[in-house]
């Protein structure tokens, strides 16, 4: 099986299958990841409500299975004089908002589903960017060695001395104030082509859904940029060992160019640990993105971290606002980590430990 210049051997596929069958955790992980991906992809079709629609009359509704009591005060005319009356009102959940609503009356389940999009997009694109940057640097450093290697690795050391979160905050915070668009609005094909609309009409869900979706590009760029080092280290290590292999020396003797050697020989043989690292990084970047939006450094408000920050103010009265998006994060990251474990156990690339945030 070939993906671009990289071919996946039948033995690898067999190992993957074998590990999948024998490990219950791997199956759980794959299920979780598939659920999240589907939710993100088909968000306009399956979300109960439009995530942005506010409805202050229905603010702070509890999730299904819970009831909430609120104190309401009214002023009333009683016997000709004005009095304030305080009473405890029971607020019931409704099936229209299975996970309740937040302080603006927005449906939490819908926001969670749409939030999956943000997290996945940032996670995937950020990882791809970090991988491209890091692998290029790492392979170059490992293959050429000498001064090139030294210079690049010193850069990596300095880069590591900046905690990635702090650096990300600094870059986003410092750049964003003077940018008109921190993020890019993308049209949502499912909505604009009417597919989502007809589906929802058929099923009986309210329409319309948002036509555009925000892609937080600055976040993606920054997140990819601060994480290149992990890929660089792995790629460098692989390049260092593969370059000593006989077939590489043979290729050089035959006059193959360096670029060709790296692409055709070094890269395909290094792909396994890079792949395992990539899954770990997707999880790490999702956590990073949620931390960034929690702190207010994100390009979009439709994000799990942002919702948690909002919910914090209502912790004592409506705990579900902050809890639900957090559960979504935990489940997604668990799923990705389990898939990462599956890959690592099946492919056994021999990398130590975990790449961090």
């Amino acid at each position: 099986m070939k993906i671009g210049p990289i071919s996946i051997s039948p033995r690898t596929i067999r190992n993957l299958r074998k590990e999948f069958r024998s490990s219950g955790l791997a199956r759980i992980g794959v299920v979780l990841v598939v659920v999240i991906v589907l939710a993100a992809a088909f968000a306009p079709m399956i979300a109960p409500q439009n995530p942005r629609t506010q409805d202050l009359d229905r603010a702070q509704l509890p999730p299904l299975g819970f009831t909430d009591t609120e104190q309401q005060t009214r002023t009333e005319m009683v016997n000709g004089s004005v009095e304030t009356v305080t009473e405890n009102v029971t607020v019931n959940a409704t099936a229209q908002h299975p996970l309740g609503t937040n302080s603006l009356g927005q449906d939490i389940l819908s926001r969670v589903i749409y939030g999956a999009r943000t997290s996945l997009l940032v996670g995937l694109f950020g990882t791809v960017l970090a991988a491209l940057l890091g692998v290029t640097v790492g392979l170059t450093a490992g293959y050429y060695r000498g001064r090139v290697d030294d210079a690049l690795m010193r850069t990596a050391d300095v880069s590591l001395a900046f905690p990635s979160l702090v650096l990300a905050i600094a870059l986003i915070g410092l750049f964003s104030r003077f940018q008109a668009d921190v993020a890019v609005a993308i049209t949502d094909p499912l909505v604009t082509t009417g597919v989502a609309g007809s589906f929802r009409d058929a099923v009986g869900l309210p329409t319309p859904m948002p036509e555009t979706f925000v892609l937080p590009t600055v976040v993606i760029l920054v997140v990819g940029f601060v994480n290149w080092v992990w890929f660089a280290r792995i790629a460098r290590g692989e390049a260092l060992s593969v370059r000593e292999e006989e077939y590489v020396k043979a290729a050089r003797a035959l006059g193959a160019s360096d670029v060709r050697i790296v692409f055709r020989h070094v890269l395909p043989n290094s792909i396994t640990p890079i792949l395992v690292l990539a899954t770990i990084q997707v999880a790490a970047i999702i956590l990073l993105e949620s931390s960034l939006s929690f702190l207010g450094f994100s390009g979009t408000t439709l994000s799990w971290g942002f919702d948690i920050a909002q919910g914090r103010d209502y912790l004592s009265s409506s705990w579900w606002i902050a809890t639900m998006p957090g559960l979504a994060i935990v489940l997604s990251v668990i799923g990705i980590n389990l898939v990462g474990d599956w890959l690592r156990d099946a492919l056994d690339p021999g990398i130590e430990g975990e790449g961090g945030m």
């Binding site: 001395a161 905690p163 702090v166 994060i329 990251v333 945030m357």
Partner: protein
């Protein structure tokens, strides 16, 4: 090579890294949009005022001159003055540092004390209930965003159960020391301090507890299949020593390596934890400085963190060399 020379070599490398950090921090100001003048000058300042401020801040000089000035000042310990408060940046930064250090140390202690035995037990009782519990816990621990964990802990312990305070830092380490002889009752001070430190430390420490448990577990499983384990058992050495004196020592080597790389995560986590608990440390300070474009504070904080990071890495390297003497031979 010898232990001392090894450390010296690492120290020299560390200085190089610190210099790199300082340079990057310096350049940062020039590549971001906006100018310090905007921060310092009042909104309605005249052109003349702005010019004057520019002169004061040395912004009109060529780049390399500003750079060299900056380095020179730094070597003397001068990080400039906060654009907002006009307090010397070094004073402000070092004032906030202890709070962050307390948090980081507390979290690390919690993590190490719990995770190492947990990892060893998990590896030696493989596929038994203790192992399943430990692996489930560690999976959860690395998958939970720490700000959310902090909020949930606050929800349960502070809001509902009212056992711990919801936020803030009460007293501190130095104050606790002072209270041994000082006016305030020692017990009140210490319990107040620790109570306010408890939830933040757990929040920050959970990820690392989970991570280290995982690493120790997998490391030990690998290590237990090495040849010397059987040979050491063959000579009759008690199992406790086989595990903790021999196997764990070698297991910790890659664990320590990974931890060294994770120091950045620790600091990042501290920033978030401080935001969640309104813990008055360097992390909150950095966020404030970023939002306000208070460059001296931001730069000073980043440099202090960079230096701290380098120092910690040297300590980690020292530990590494102690555990595995072959490292020195390189």
């Amino acid at each position: 090579m010898g232990y001392g020379r090894f450390l010296l070599k690492r120290g020299v490398q560390g200085v190089g890294v610190v210099w790199g950090v300082v340079t990057v921090v310096f350049i940062l100001r020039f590549i971001t949009p906006g100018s310090p003048i905007d921060t310092v000058a009042p909104l309605d300042a005249s052109q003349a005022t702005r010019q004057r401020i520019a002169e004061e801040l040395g912004l009109n000089q060529p780049l390399y001159v500003q750079y060299l000035d900056y380095l020179w000042e730094l070597l003397q310990g001068n990080m400039g003055y906060s654009y907002i408060s006009s307090i010397p940046a070094s004073v402000q930064v070092f004032q906030k540092l202890p709070a962050t250090l307390e948090l980081a140390v507390a979290a690390s202690v919690v993590a190490i004390v719990i995770s190492i035995p947990l990892g060893v037990v998990s590896a030696t009782r493989r596929h038994q209930p203790a192992d399943y519990a430990a692996t489930s816990f560690s999976l959860l621990g690395i998958s939970t965003p720490n700000f959310w964990l902090g909020i949930m802990l606050v929800l349960v312990f502070a809001v509902e159960l009212n056992v711990f305070p919801t936020s803030g830092r009460a007293y501190g380490f130095m104050q606790s020391l002072a209270a041994i002889t000082g006016p305030e009752p020692f017990l009140t001070v210490v319990t107040g301090w620790l109570a306010s430190l408890f939830l933040p430390a757990i929040t920050l420490g959970t990820y690392f507890t989970a991570l280290i448990t995982r690493l120790v577990r997998s490391g030990m499983l690998d290590e237990l299949s090495e040849g010397y384990v059987r040979a050491t058992r063959a000579k009759g050495l008690p199992e406790t020593l086989v595990r903790y004196k021999h196997v764990l020592r070698n297991t910790l080597v890659p664990v320590v390596t990974v931890l060294g790389l994770q120091l950045g995560t620790l600091i990042g986590g501290a920033v978030i934890t401080e935001a969640v608990f309104a813990w008055p440390g360097l992390g909150s300070e950095i966020i404030r400085a970023i939002n306000a474009r208070d460059w001296p504070i931001l730069q000073g904080s980043l440099i202090v963190i960079g230096i701290g990071f380098v120092l910690l890495n040297i300590v980690v390297d020292a530990l590494y060399a102690y555990l595995d003497p072959r490292v020195i031979a390189e």
